[in-house]
Symmetry: C2
Subunit: 346 residues, 2 copies
DNA sequence: ATCGGGGCTTGACACGTTTTAATCGATGTC
DNA sequence: GACATCGATTAAAACGTGTCAAGCCCCGAT
């Protein structure tokens, strides 16, 4: 049996004793191996594996003042958009020897605040944050503690922080323009809480497209939902079918669109012939939907990678770091849910 | 401006000074508020908010020997099955005042090992683990360090640990039996690495169903794939279409099935008329697929909840804790992708 | 032979919190 | 009025690591 009844906390001291050196040397082997002679280092390394030593991160962090861990807080872990972002983050972080603590605010400001507090207690080196609110006071609180914060999927006009985002106004315009090009004159916009910047911006873009097409704001019927998932989409569609159906539906993300699509088809409507539909994010599942979903694609994985690179740059070299605001452009992906069959346009 | 140039680490001492008490009292306010007089407590609490004090988790952990954090390691964060499990975990953990560190092994043993090491360094209180390998040596290493481990979505015959799982053999049997009932005589099984217990068990169940139907093992054509996602499913389907198509396809999870479905339809095959299809996990998207996907449903959220409850019970009361092996039964969900139109059965 | 210097190693302290035992003051008892 | 009791508070000692100044040893230069 390998288990041991007597709790035997094996620390740097035990390793030192076992290798016949001082604790300081073991610490050097761990942190600045080049400073220690080859023979000694090998001896220490052998002792480490023989005793199964695992460095106590709390002690390191306590002494160093910060850990080699970054926090990633997203709006919704169940959204493939964010898991793809997380993949980019994880890849860069692990390349650079950082661990990632993943957390989700569930679009709740209170949960965001609570989770950020946990991250602050853990003394993470930095934080990638997709803020729920627009102002990012929570981010400010962290920065006051000298914890670098990079805003993720959220632009900022302020020069005191980095941000990486995709132009959601442009994306909303692309989406609505596509629907209008298909012949739609009235569009329903299924959208999450208006406090969410992503939703607000996409709406703004849609209005811009309407205006360009010579239509007024009243051509856009807003259908607010409480969450940004498929279930909420279904509920929205049900409400939508209460009144006269619009020509087209623009959903603030693909999860909503998939839910809407499902209810529309169940209700016997044809997509796109009766109602055109477009989503946002271009998640994997969209292409495999009952009617392949048109959508707006974002450089998701790169979003995560670049945000992490900016954050780590700021962590490793707080002095020489110049804050950057990166903005990507989205891309329209037309599939079957938005294009009306030729000739069926009004 | 709220930022402060001079780094001013505000610790328990500063709070104590500001409130006119000793550091020990501040600690008591934080950890055993009932032991301190009302007046004093209020004074300290005021000082805490005034100074914006945030407890240093590293120091607590160092002193206590463990943190109030648990680790959750899943196979694939991009799989909705696991994000749903994670939701259950998060809910219970936060109810009980624990934070969750989320990590993903990506089905790689090496990444599992590396991530578990990070968790060990962080001195997490316990770990929920969906192991990549079958034996769980990595779990043993943790348990040797007195870190409780609960196996998640993985049964164990060993009595020295808790586990929470769903009967995948039964699930595989349900799935294959459904396909056979639809008239299929040959079934392709699209499956991930055979080292993955989930895949192996589902295969075993499928074989059992074949046997019950009087068919031999050769009625099951295995199509191995490298990963368990939609892309891999597409590749598998492409290979599948090289030879004579089987009557039906059983995919080891829904992501694979969605990928397969997409390619089948693109190739002009009708589902289920030409080829029947069934997946596993019953993720949200399956119901909204081009052809609504039959699948095998698991009590995903409860899986996460119960595993976490077991883990925290073991953490809080290591002595009086009796290890349990919980096994849920899966449930067949029949939609359109598996049932042949009446009369089209051979 | 002495000195200087460079490469390795060591010793000791500090990080911020928790905890234990001791202290203090007040209240109640004999 | 002395003493025990009890509650509230404090002082001090850990926890395991990183760091830094100081020490050691050996070698080459003078």
């Amino acid at each position: 049996m390998s288990s041991n009844d007597t709790a035997r906390p094996v620390g740097i001291k035990q390793v030192a004793a076992h290798a016949g050196v001082s604790p300081g040397t073991v610490s050097n082997v761990l942190n600045r191996p080049e400073r220690v002679a080859d023979g000694t280092r090998e001896r220490v390394e052998r002792a480490i594996v023989e005793l199964g030593f695992v460095r106590n991160g709390s002690a390191s962090t306590l002494r160093a003042g910060h850990s080699s861990t970054i926090g990633l807080m997203v709006l919704d872990l169940a959204n493939p958009f964010f898991t793809e972002v997380a993949r980019g983050v994880e890849d860069v972080a692990s390349e650079r020897g950082y661990a990632v603590i993943l957390a989700s605010s569930g679009e709740s400001d209170e949960r965001e605040q609570r989770n950020l507090r946990v991250l602050a207690e853990q003394r993470v080196r930095g934080v990638l944050l997709t803020p729920v609110g627009d102002e990012g006071e929570n981010a400010d609180r962290l920065r006051d503690r000298d914890v670098p914060v990079v805003l993720l999927d959220h632009p900022t006009p302020r020069a005191n922080q980095c941000s990486v985002a995709v132009d959601d106004v442009a994306g909303g315009e692309l989406a609505a323009a596509e629907l209008l090009a298909g012949g739609a004159r009235t569009i329903a916009f299924v959208t999450g809480p208006p406090g969410l910047r992503q939703c607000a911006d996409r709406r703004k873009g849609a209005l811009r497209a309407l205006k360009a097409a010579g239509l007024g704001r009243d051509a856009l019927r807003e259908v607010p939902v409480a969450a940004m998932n498929a279930r909420a989409g279904q509920e929205a569609a049900a409400r939508l079918l209460d009144g006269p159906p619009p020509d087209a539906v623009f959903c603030a993300n693909d999860l909503l669109a998939l839910g809407v699509l499902r209810v529309l088809l169940q209700a016997g409507m044809r997509v796109p012939e009766d109602v055109a539909l477009i989503g946002y994010d271009d998640i994997d599942f969209s292409a495999a939907a009952a009617v392949p979903l048109s959508s707006v694609r974002q450089p998701t994985y790169r979003l995560g990678r670049i945000a992490t690179e900016l954050l780590l740059e700021e962590c490793d070299d707080a002095g020489g770091h110049a804050h950057q605001q990166v903005m990507f452009q989205p891309e329209l992906v037309v599939r079957e849910s938005s294009r009306r069959a030729p000739g069926s346009a009004r």
